[in-house]
Symmetry: C2
Subunit: 494 residues, 2 copies
């Protein structure tokens, strides 16, 4: 065991943090408290790399009791804390605080129970998303949420961000696949939140709260039966508009595909440069449509989808004959974000939602924005549910380019709001989009959210600075309740 | 317009209520404030008829602004209030208070918008559940939640109770079909809560909160496409155990029926007495299985279901050839609750949940309970999701019978909890089951729910006395936060 004095190595640690680090080391034992600046720096950001902060202290607990203990120590010391899974989030939800503690769940990586008859598994938060599927695949099941990072992201992080993925059109987000969470509340209590029980659905509000209402330490996930069959096609169109018509026709026909993904010319170009996916040359847009389910249904609907794509103007349609061909079709799409690095020195991954029916107008407006500003925008999106992922390209060596890209990126969110959509589909608000919240919500709406936050976390120490644009001290939330307490002298009301 | 002095007719009204009634009359105008004792008495209970209380005042607002105004007046006067839709709830969630205001939404009955391309409709809370379906049926859509009371219950009530129905096995509860709610918060603000937006999923916690977090004044519901085909069968078994084996086999085969309902011999007897449904004579249990969806899928799976029922021991299987035959099959099931009145002077409708796999054990235990106590129990249940509705029969003219029935009814809930289930599947906690909450939740779990309630409603005036067994004054919730406020002097933390 290390000497406690080693913990003082952290240069520039203030005395509160230094004392806290010692207390945490006593509490946790083992090599579970990091204060060494070099090691701390490896945690300075999550997937949103343009926001960085070296955490004051990092802890690596390996049980719910340890997490609860850390939270209690933080509360006692008045020090803020942030939880982190694998750090793949794209909105900075796990951005640490230099004056706080980062609670990393990577040592809590056990699959605790697999219950096939009841189609559920119980896992610790650090378990990797894809490892859940690996553990139950032989029984014919899988864990449905499939963010692109599923090979490395953690289930705890999926819970915090309510992660989606290409297949959430049919299967829903993480919230639809979590049955219960054990949670360490912001006052260090361990509670159990469950779906569909009596009382308030606190599980629903916890999932997707971006780590601001507590830290999950055990997750009961729903297992989904592997579909009897999967069919995938790639359709090439001359334009995004033609692809959009196909999407509308497919959804309008009552088909619920497992996924409908669209890529525009620029993102196809990037994917080709990176992974040679050999999509049909000359395509202004490609559409990937995947159906899954019972064989007779899929066969009938797949024929419809093919016809509807042709009717909408597809000039080439490729149908995957086997898993290898399916993987090839998906390869371009799955590599698209990273591939953009081949055609641009830097880029912003935007994430917004519009009603599906507004796709053509909004894409035309994005085109116009790009033309006016000279900023290139590559479009990759979950077309079925209107979740856009515009990639805004810029050269970070060029003065002012980053700012112009930011401007275009923000203008795209304004377009989403203007069309009745949302500033985030699946990446979360985090630190990245807190400033856009007032464009989407009234002050009263935001105050209602803050009331819940203050209910859970009156001290404001649990992942502060995320989600809300102008956090208030609890008690500051305005409203009628600022007047004389209506309950005064009415203790018999209940 | 009535004279304000007429409002003083309410006998025994205390001066606070009398003043409030006048203020509300000035605020609302028209004939929207009821203080006449005879009219008030018509609102004394909802579907849970063994709890009654004449409301102090009844108001009939017809807009969100009026609801907000009423709430603000109540807060100002320190008077509790309760919202009520059609009053069909079975757990007393809309039980009024003699010292409070009952806000009845029956005049808010407009369907405001139907948006077929985006598969949604916007309705006021007083709109009758089935009227949503009636309004969109011609377009090939329907509103999926189907509580047995759907001909009279209101969408606002469905939201408060997160109502289910026979088809929620496949289609989910009301929460899965509500996209947004306009809500008057307990401090009289009008806010918009939406699903899948950024920030907290407050819609999820609001739906099913049994009217304790505010009053919905506008609901955006998801419309579901009418399935291409529906197939229904009735299978008769010698015993509940055999029927249970069929249920397990069907679910285990990966089939997701729209509904699987089971009735035992006693409930079949009651249904026969009431509606002559002509179920196969001598059945110890009948199972109704309904499949819906695309024709090829339903045809293939329906053949499987029929075979699995025979394998489990069905001695007779009837397949509905058309809608009339389907209605006949459902007639017995849908009338079962009321029908029990034909074979027993009085009965309690219980509502509990167990894991589907525990069905055989729990039903055997209920049988034993019934035999030991001499209290007859008829079992009707949503077998697919383990939602039991035992009907506990008694003769209210017999001294002590009601108490014995209550005891058996409570023991059934204990069985549910013991098997990892829940004290309510779809009827809610209300006043009826608040006392059972501590059997299912730890104090810390309940405190976490109370924190949310206190966040929304620090004054405790919004439907007090429901859901929670031992409501606390806000500020009394224990925990670390009782110590020195951890946030003190840390305003720069955010």
């Amino acid at each position: 065991m290390r000497m406690l004095s080693e913990l003082e190595d952290g240069e520039g640690m203030d005395s509160v943090l230094r004392t806290l680090a010692r207390d945490l080391d006593v509490l946790l034992g083992g090599d579970r408290v990091i204060t060494d600046p070099v090691r701390l720096r490896t945690y300075e950001c999550d997937g949103l790399t343009n926001h960085r902060a070296t955490p004051g202290i990092v802890v690596l607990p390996d049980s719910a009791e340890q997490v609860a203990g850390v939270v209690r120590e933080c509360v006692r010391a008045g020090v803020p804390y942030v939880a982190r899974g694998s750090g793949t989030g794209l909105s900075g939800g796990a951005l640490p605080r230099t004056d706080g503690v980062l609670i990393v769940t990577s040592r809590m990586r056990r699959i605790l129970e697999i219950d096939i008859p009841n189609q559920r598994a119980v896992v610790e938060p650090g378990v990797i998303n894809l490892d859940v599927t690996r553990a139950v695949r032989a029984d014919g099941y899988y864990f449905a949420p499939d963010p692109s990072s599923q090979q490395i992201c953690s289930v705890g992080g999926n819970v915090a961000e309510n992660s989606g993925g290409a297949h959430c059109l049919k299967y829903g987000f993480t919230a639809h696949h979590v049955l219960a969470c054990e949670v360490v509340t912001p006052d260090g209590e361990i509670v159990e939140l469950a779906a569909d029980g009596p009382g308030y659905d606190l599980l629903g509000v916890f999932v997707g709260a971006e780590g601001t209402l507590g830290i999950t330490t055990k997750i009961t996930v729903r297992l989904t039966r592997v579909p009897q069959t999967v069919q995938t096609l790639l359709a090439a169109f001359e334009s995004i508009e033609a692809g959009g018509r196909a999407v509308s026709a497919i959804i309008g026909a009552g088909v619920v595909p497992a996924a409908i993904e669209m890529m525009d010319a620029l993102s196809i170009e990037a994917a080709e440069a990176a992974v040679n996916c050999a999509y049909p040359p000359g395509a202004g847009a490609v559409l990937i449509v995947e159906l899954d389910g019972p064989e007779p249904e899929v066969a009938a609907q797949f024929a419809d989808v093919e016809r509807l794509c042709r009717d909408a103007g597809a000039f080439e349609i490729r149908i995957a004959a086997d898993d290898a061909e399916r993987a090839l079709i998906w390869k371009g799409r799955k590599s698209a974000f990273a591939a953009v690095g081949r055609i641009s020195p830097a880029y912003i991954v935007q994430d917004g939602v519009i009603p599906r029916t507004a796709l053509p107008q909004v894409l035309a407006r994005i085109d116009a924005l790009s033309a006016e500003s000279g900023v290139r925008v590559a479009n990759v999106f979950h077309a079925g549910d209107g979740n856009l992922h515009p990639l805004v390209l810029f050269d970070d060596a060029e003065p002012g380019a980053a700012e112009r890209a930011e401007e275009v990126s923000g203008a795209i969110l304004d377009l989403c709001i203007e069309h009745g959509g949302s500033i985030t589909g699946e990446h979360g608000v985090g630190v990245d989009k807190a400033r856009y919240m007032p464009r989407m919500f009234t002050e009263a709406d935001l105050d209602t959210m803050q009331m819940v936050r203050c209910g859970f976390d009156p001290g404001g120490l649990c992942n502060p600075g995320k989600v809300f644009p102008t956090p208030r001290l609890c008690g500051e939330v305005p409203g009628v309740r600022k007047g004389p307490h209506p309950f005064e002298g009415k203790a018999d009301l209940f």
